[in-house]
């Protein structure tokens, strides 16, 4: 077959376009000028030091980590039973369940953010962090349900039936037979939901309040007032974190699972 060299050229251009900006962030994080310029004229590590000691960034980082972990865990607790029941049984109202668990990905997040703002922040029912947690959980729930269903579909019910016919109760067979066999699926779902929550802007944008703000929002606000390499340093740290997560999950689960 004829070698299609022009396909490879387009691929290289596309990859440069997709990955090039990452290299630019990386290089400018080490620039030694107070105002960002590219290419930088000198080298320094000060911006990393600065970023990692600024309480504004540290507090919001902690909040983002908390939100990522707890929204993923709550979504897992809510979504796992739904994924199990919908993948194993037919029942009245199944369509409704499927629709309502995919709703948070169909509705634009800006719309959901505004809706949550109008209802909960106006009513002043919960603390800001609690409202953020609710919003993030709703957004990541569909990913849990979808990922866990696709894992369960690949785990034959006959194995579970065997456990039941040997005298285990339904509940016991779930915890002893099903759960240990779907752990990789659960881990990949958790990674995906954590990243989704951690990177979220549109929901957090509406729900953050005075003194309580997630990292991406704080970064955006900071960028409005300062144009220096500290955001580049922070972005470098975040990208390194992402590369780490992607590398680890690839080792564990393979690329196809990450989508």
């Amino acid at each position: 077959m004829k070698k299609n060299w022009w396909l490879s050229i387009v691929l290289i251009i596309v990859m440069l376009f997709l990955i090039g900006p990452f290299l630019i962030i990386f290089i400018s994080a080490f620039g030694n000028e107070a105002s960002l310029r590219f290419p930088p004229r000198g080298f320094t590590l000060d911006w990393f030091k600065k970023v990692l000691t600024m309480p504004m960034f540290l507090d919001s980082l902690k909040l983002s980590l908390r939100l990522g972990i707890f929204s993923s865990l709550i979504a897992m607790l809510l979504g796992l039973p739904v994924a199990y029941v919908t993948s194993r049984y037919d029942f009245r109202g199944k369509r409704f369940i499927e629709l309502s668990t995919t709703l948070p990905v169909i509705i634009p997040q800006m719309v959901a953010g505004l809706a949550l703002l109008r209802t909960f922040v106006m009513l002043n029912l919960f603390s800001i962090e609690m409202t953020l947690l609710i919003g993030h959980t709703a957004i990541v729930l569909p990913y849990v349900v979808r990922n866990v269903i696709s894992t369960l579909v690949n785990f034959p019910p006959s194995i579970e039936e065997a456990a039941v016919s040997l005298g285990a109760s339904r509940v016991r067979s779930f915890f002893i037979v099903v759960l240990p066999n779907i752990t990789t699926g659960l881990i990949s779902a958790f990674i995906l939901t954590f990243i989704t929550s951690f990177n979220n802007v549109p929901i957090s944008l509406f729900l953050t309040g005075p003194g309580v703000s997630t990292l991406p929002i704080v970064m955006m606000t900071y960028m409005e007032y300062y144009f220096n390499p500290s955001i580049a340093a922070l972005a470098t740290i975040l990208i390194a974190m992402t590369v780490g997560i992607v590398a680890i999950s690839q080792k564990l689960l393979g690329v196809s699972r990450m989508m």
């Binding site: 387009v10 376009f17 997709l18 719309v111 809706a115 109008r118 959980t137 690839q250």
Partner: protein, 279 residues
């Protein structure tokens, strides 16, 4: 029957959560957009939206920007996806796939920030052009349509590439080869054989890119600012800066209805494409 009652019990927490914390707030929003007591006639908000030049412009800018981003990402992603599918070495292929997935996993603020460095007054492009003597003073590249376009293209292209890869992997090379051996030119076999077989991938990718581009907030906010207002940035401005709740709600509803409409339109377009591939 007892068995089934227990099943519903398992579903209950999730259903209650989504109803109270998602469905009800949405319904409040929808009803607020249709009629608010003391705010004129039913549907006044929608009338006001299209009557004002600022919001009408933002709407059509979002639509045309979304369309352009989708089109250009298709043009570049198709050959790129073909090249990826043809990579023989397994390790090289998975490395390239990782590079495509990586941007999707990265914080959008960090990704968009890179374009500030490229397009800024002292950025890569201005500095290069200055040192080459092509321009005398830095050009304003940020806060333009072009800046928002480039940012959105980079943000959403991975979706297109990934949907095309999965579509192309289901099409055996044998089909194109058969067409070629029967005398079709390369272009003809692409147009009549491969393209119709991968139309679904284009539709899925197109839907993700289009709806993503018209609802994205971070990129237009950072690269467009208040000069290049899009639907999303206008929505946030109305909700948080001018505190115009009625307008914010209307914009949100228009955004939602537009994405629904696009989803539906592209789906039927895919159906037409597929039925034509059968004839």
């Amino acid at each position: 029957m007892v068995q089934h009652k227990k099943l519903y019990l398992l579903l209950l927490p999730c259903v209650v959560f989504l109803t109270v914390f998602f469905l009800v707030p949405l319904l409040v929003l929808v009803s607020g957009s249709i009629y608010e007591p003391g705010k004129g006639f039913v549907g006044q908000g929608y009338y006001n939206f299209f009557a004002q030049k600022l919001s009408r412009d933002a709407y059509f800018r979002s639509l045309s920007m979304g369309g352009l981003v989708t089109l250009i990402s298709m043009v570049f992603s198709y050959p790129a996806a073909m090249a990826i599918v043809r990579i023989r070495s397994k390790s090289l292929k998975s490395f390239v796939m990782t590079l495509v997935v990586l941007p999707l996993m990265t914080n959008p603020v960090a990704r968009t920030f890179a374009w500030l460095v490229v397009l800024g007054r002292n950025g890569l492009i201005n500095n290069t052009l200055l040192s080459l003597g092509l321009i005398k003073r830095p050009e304003r590249l940020l806060y333009t349509n072009g800046a928002v376009f480039v940012g959105l293209l980079q943000l959403f292209m991975p979706f297109m590439i990934l949907s095309l890869i999965s579509a192309l992997e289901n099409v055996s090379d044998d089909y194109s080869m058969a067409a070629r051996s029967l005398g079709a030119s390369g272009l003809k076999s692409f147009w009549y054989v491969q393209l119709p077989l991968t139309i679904e991938g284009l539709v899925i990718g197109g839907t993700l890119v289009f709806t993503g581009a018209i609802t994205a907030y971070v990129t237009p906010a950072i690269l467009g600012g208040s000069r290049i207002l899009m639907l999303s940035t206008l929505l946030y401005q109305r909700a948080s800066v001018t505190l115009d709740w009625g307008m914010a709600t209307t914009i949100a509803m228009i955004m939602f209805l537009t994405t629904l409409g696009l989803n539906y339109a592209l789906k039927s377009l895919g159906k037409v494409g597929r039925s034509r591939s059968r004839t």
